[in-house]
Each structure stands twice: as structure tokens, then as C-alpha cells.
Amino acid sequence: MIVPLAHVLVLAVILFCLGLICTLVWRSNVIMMLIGIEIMLNAAMLVFVGGACHWGTADGQVFALMIMAMTSAEVSLALALVVYLHRRRNTVDTDEFRELQDQ
């Protein structure tokens, strides 16, 4: 382990929070929200890889790989949905989608 585990964790938490902020702030653009979620998942991967390095077991790396595969599936579906919605409403602003709400 080249650096203390703590420092890896701090870096991951910073990335995670940046991703969270990105998701919450960019309501006007679904694509940016998805990017925020990608950043958060990358932070999780970083923690897994750091953990795997610390413990010397490959489980964490396997999990990181699985997260990667899972997000690419999720992103492709999400982007397909975005394209579909854009085709219908010509916008990517999530606040524009308010047909379903309390009367």
C-alpha cells in the first residue's frame, strides 16, 4: 500500500460528494445528472479498489468490475430514455416533466 488507506477514502468521499452535488444541482439537464451518478459510482469503485489493496483480496476488485458493467447497462438504458423523452418533448430539463403530480 503506497498511501494510507485513510487518504484513499478521503479522496473517494470528495469525489462522491462532488458527484452528489452535480446530480442535485443540474436539474435542468438529465445528462449532467447521469454524469453526477457516474462520478459517485467511480468513488465507490475507488473505495473498493483501495480496500482490495489494503486487505490483499480480489473481492473488492471484482465488485468494482461489476459496478462498471452495471453502470454501463444503466447508462445505456437511461440515455435511451433521454433520447425518447427528448423526441417527445424536445427538452432535457427534468423539471419540465411534471404531468404526474398531486392535484
Partner: protein, 471 residues
């Protein structure tokens, strides 16, 4: 891969193969019903196998096991999926949802649930949960003829993806602390007695936040009413019954292994309290039946968290019982809503006026499930609530339990509003203009089965409770 592996994995394989075959058959012929038949066969076959197979050792190379709880929930998920498939036939035909995608995605979702149910490590557990959610992302948006369908998908997908991120980060932190992904060891390391590791607790915070979305616990509940309103009714039945039960199972596979869960008490208390209060209060003034059911489900999940909170004194059994009971009730309720809405009936309380005389069967089942949700004996809802509150009181959560009982009493009001609309208010001249919608045979079968189960679980719950306490 050994024989044991195959033995345990057979139901999962069956569902996966079923999903693929459905896709392939769909590519060859354009008749939708073949897909549904194959899907039904796969779910029922898996359920049958799970019921028949004796408990065995965990599979060594697959990360799967076939314990009592897993098999019980596995059977439940398969039967629920079969029920939803039966309900969908007529509904989908009327709404113009055709193609092989629907049955095969539904099978994939069940596949995810089943993987989750038999997981022995956190990776399989997580992937199972995600596969299930992923299936639902597609299912809620499947009715593309309706304008709101895409919006529904977006409203489920975005929070879902965020919750996935929280879950993954939480699990990562837990892994970093413990160095293992095996459920038992991980729980032993992260929720030890005494003062647990702070990083592990932070991980638990993230994990709970992610699960709060899946269980639609306040304040992560806001997607629920919108999705319940926008998605096709059979899908809502599956979402409400299956995904909630699966998430509860997720927690049930984790928490009982822990040494001491008291560190999580306050967050769970808060989640339970907020959900019960917000769910019940918001439902009071709803006029849209599905949204009302959504808020009610938020409240119901609050009760379940209360049960998990008082786990050691029977709360885990209570939560498992309630998960199954609630799943059955929501199958019955949304099954009835499916039938009622099928003939172009509206969705607000005003549209439900007089349905009791136009569609007596569906209205009767809906009324029964509403009474079950309100916790009126002799229904499954009563037994479940009873188990939950008695467990809560035994473990000393008196304040929460009393709040819960009071809120249950409040909830009777809004459930009754629906019943009143069904039976006691005739719309003036709709009686003749609207055609009588007759349930189809599969719908009859599912509704009768669900209603019978609700009553059986209310009258003779002993058998199931015994199974659960052995598991």
C-alpha cells in the same frame, strides 16, 4: 459446477432461460401470448422446484444457498410474477402493450429477485437487487402509448440510479472495514457489540439511504406516487409487492447476522416514524386512487421498519410475514384496480363511484384488500400488524408502537373513503352508459387466489409463522 450447484441454481437458470427463450420466440413469431405462456411456465416451474427441493448446503462455487427463508421468498416471488403475468394479458391487450419484451423483462426481474433471495455474499445480493430494479426501470415505462410513460420511467430511473450509487458506496465502505463480502462475516465485523467502527457506521448510513429509496421510506419516498400513477397497473402490483418484499429480504438477510444492531436504532426509528406519519397524512386528502395506494404503501413500509427495529424479539419474523402479506394484498388490490381500469374506467375516487354494483367481483376484492391494509381482522393485514406491534412492544419501542397504532386508526379513514366510493355513492346516470367489464378467467383465478391467501393468512397464520421462525 457441481450437482449441488445445479440443484440450487436450477430455478434461477430456469427463469434466465425462460427470459431468453421468450425473447427468441418473440423474434420469430409476433403473437404475444406465446411469450406469456412460456413466462408462466418458467415462473411456475421455478416455484414448483423451490417448493419440492429440500434444504441443502450452500453451493460452493456460485455464492448461492437454499435456506428456508430464501426458498420461501423465492416461491413467493415466482408466484407473484405468475399472478402479475395472468393479470397482464387482458390489460396489455387493451392498452396496446405488445411484443415479447414485457414477459421477458418480467422474467428477468423475477430472476433478479430470486438471485437476491439465495445470495450468500454481498456482491450477488447487490447485483440481484440491481437486476430487479433494472427490470423495473423498463417495466414502468413499458406502456409507451401513454404520454406519461416516459416521465414515469425517468422518475423511477433517476432516483433509482442515485440509490444504487449510495448502496454501492455503502457496501464499499463496509468492505473496506471488514475485508470480506460474505454476509455473515461482514455483519459480524461491522455491527459488533460495543462501539462499532465509525467508517462502518457511515457505510451503514449510505446503505440505509439507498434502501430507503427502494422501500420508499420518507423522506426518500417522493417518487412513489408518481410512479404508481404512471406505470401500468399489473406492473404496479409487481413493484409494490415484489420489489418491496425483495428489499425487506435484503435487510432480513443482513441484519439478523449482526451481533448488535442498536447502533442503527435512531436512523431506523426516524425512517419508520416519518414514513408512517407522512404516508398516512398525505393519503388522507388524496383523490387519486393509485396515489392514495402509493402513500399507503409508504406508511406500510414504515410499519415494516418498525418490525426490523425490534428484530431480536420476533420482529424479523414479523417483517418477513408482513412482506409476504403486503405483497399478496397489493397483488389483490392492484389486480382489482387492473380489472376496474381495464374498460377505460377512470382513476380518481369520483370515477370509482358505483363500481361496486357495476363490477361487484373486482370491487369486492379491492374492498377486502383495503380492509386488510387497514388492519381489520380477520385479514392478513391484521395479523401482520399485530405481529409487528407486539414485537415492537416486547422490545420496548412503546412510543413508536403507540404512534403506529394511532396512525393505523387514522388510516382507516382514507381506506374507507375508497370503500365508500365503491359501494355507497352511485354516480347518477353512469349505471347504464358504462359497459360492465367482466374479468377474464386468469384474472378471476389470480384475484380469487390472492383474496383467499389474504383471508387464510388472517385466519390461520400459524403455519407461515412457524415456517418463518424455523428459517
Amino acid at each position: 459446477m457441481t450437482a449441488t450447484d445445479l440443484f440450487i441454481a436450477l430455478p434461477i437458470i430456469l427463469l434466465a432461460v425462460g427470459a431468453l427463450v421468450t425473447l427468441l420466440v418473440g423474434a420469430i413469431t409476433r403473437t404475444t401470448n406465446i411469450g406469456i405462456v412460456i413466462a408462466l411456465a418458467a415462473t411456475l416451474g421455478a416455484a414448483f422446484w423451490l417448493m419440492q427441493s429440500p434444504p441443502t448446503l450452500p453451493a460452493p462455487t456460485l455464492g448461492l444457498s437454499a435456506g428456508g427463508l430464501s426458498r420461501l421468498f423465492g416461491v413467493f416471488f415466482c408466484l407473484l410474477a405468475a399472478g402479475v403475468l395472468c393479470l397482464s394479458v387482458a390489460y396489455n391487450r387493451e392498452r396496446g402493450i405488445s411484443g415479447e419484451e414485457y414477459p421477458s423483462v418480467l422474467l428477468f426481474t423475477t430472476f433478479g429477485m430470486l438471485a437476491l433471495a439465495s445470495a450468500t455474499n454481498l456482491l450477488t445480493l447487490f447485483l440481484g437487487l440491481e437486476a430487479m430494479s433494472f427490470g423495473f426501470y423498463i417495466l414502468v415505462a413499458i406502456d409507451l402509448q401513454r404520454g406519461v410513460s416516459g416521465e414515469t420511467g425517468l422518475k423511477y430511473l433517476l432516483p433509482g440510479a442515485l440509490s444504487t450509487a449510495f448502496l454501492a458506496f455503502g457496501i464499499a465502505l463496509l468492505y473496506t472495514v471488514s475485508g470480506t463480502l460474505s454476509l455473515h462475516e461482514l455483519m459480524q465485523f461491522t455491527l459488533t457489540s460495543g462501539t462499532p467502527d465509525p467508517i462502518a457506521l457511515a457505510g451503514w448510513g449510505c446503505l440505509l439511504a439507498g434502501l430507503a429509496f427502494k422501500l420508499s421510506l420518507a423522506p426518500a419516498h417522493l417518487w412513489t406516487p408518481d410512479v404508481y400513477q404512471g406505470a401500468p397497473a399489473p406492473v404496479v402490483a409487481f413493484l409494490s409487492g415484489g420489489s418491496k418484499a425483495a428489499t425487506i429480504l435484503f435487510l432480513l438477510l443482513l441484519l439478523p447476522q449482526a451481533v448488535d444492531v442498536s447502533a442503527l436504532r435512531i436512523p431506523l426509528c426516524a425512517l419508520s416514524l416519518f414514513s408512517m406519519m407522512i404516508g398516512n397524512c398525505a393519503a388522507l386528502r388524496q383523490n387519486h386512487v393509485r396515489r392514495l395506494m402509493a402513500y399507503s404503501s409508504i406508511a406500510q413500509m414504515g410499519y415494516v421498519v418498525l418490525a426490523l427495529l425490534s428484530g431480536k424479539s420476533g420482529g424479523y419474523q414479523a417483517a418477513a410475514f408482513y412482506a409476504i402479506a403486503y405483497g399478496t394484498i397489493s397483488l389483490a388490490a392492484f389486480g382489482a384496480i387492473t380489472v376496474i381500469e381495464r374498460n377505460g374506467g377512470g382513476e380518481t375516487l369520483d370515477d370509482y363511484r358505483g363500481v361496486g354494483s357495476r363490477q361487484p367481483f373486482a370491487a369486492g376484492v379491492l374492498a377486502l384488500s383495503l380492509f386488510a391494509l387497514a388492519g381489520i381482522p380477520p385479514t392478513a393485514g391484521f395479523t401482520g400488524k399485530f405481529l409487528i406491534f407486539s414485537a415492537a412492544i416486547r422490545s420496548g419501542e412503546i412510543t413508536l408502537a403507540v404512534t403506529g397504532i394511532l396512525l393505523t386508526a387514522v388510516s382507516v379513514y382514507y381506506y374507507l373513503r375508497v370503500v365508500v366510493a365503491l359501494y355507497f355513492n352511485h354516480a347518477d346516470n353512469t349505471e347504464d352508459t358504462q359497459p360492465r367489464s367482466i374479468p377474464t378467467a386468469p384474472e378471476y383465478a389470480v384475484l380469487i387466489a390472492a383474496a383467499t391467501t389474504i383471508l387464510i393468512l388472517g385466519l390461520w397464520p400459524g403455519k407461515l409463522i412457524e415456517l418463518l421462525s424455523r428459517a
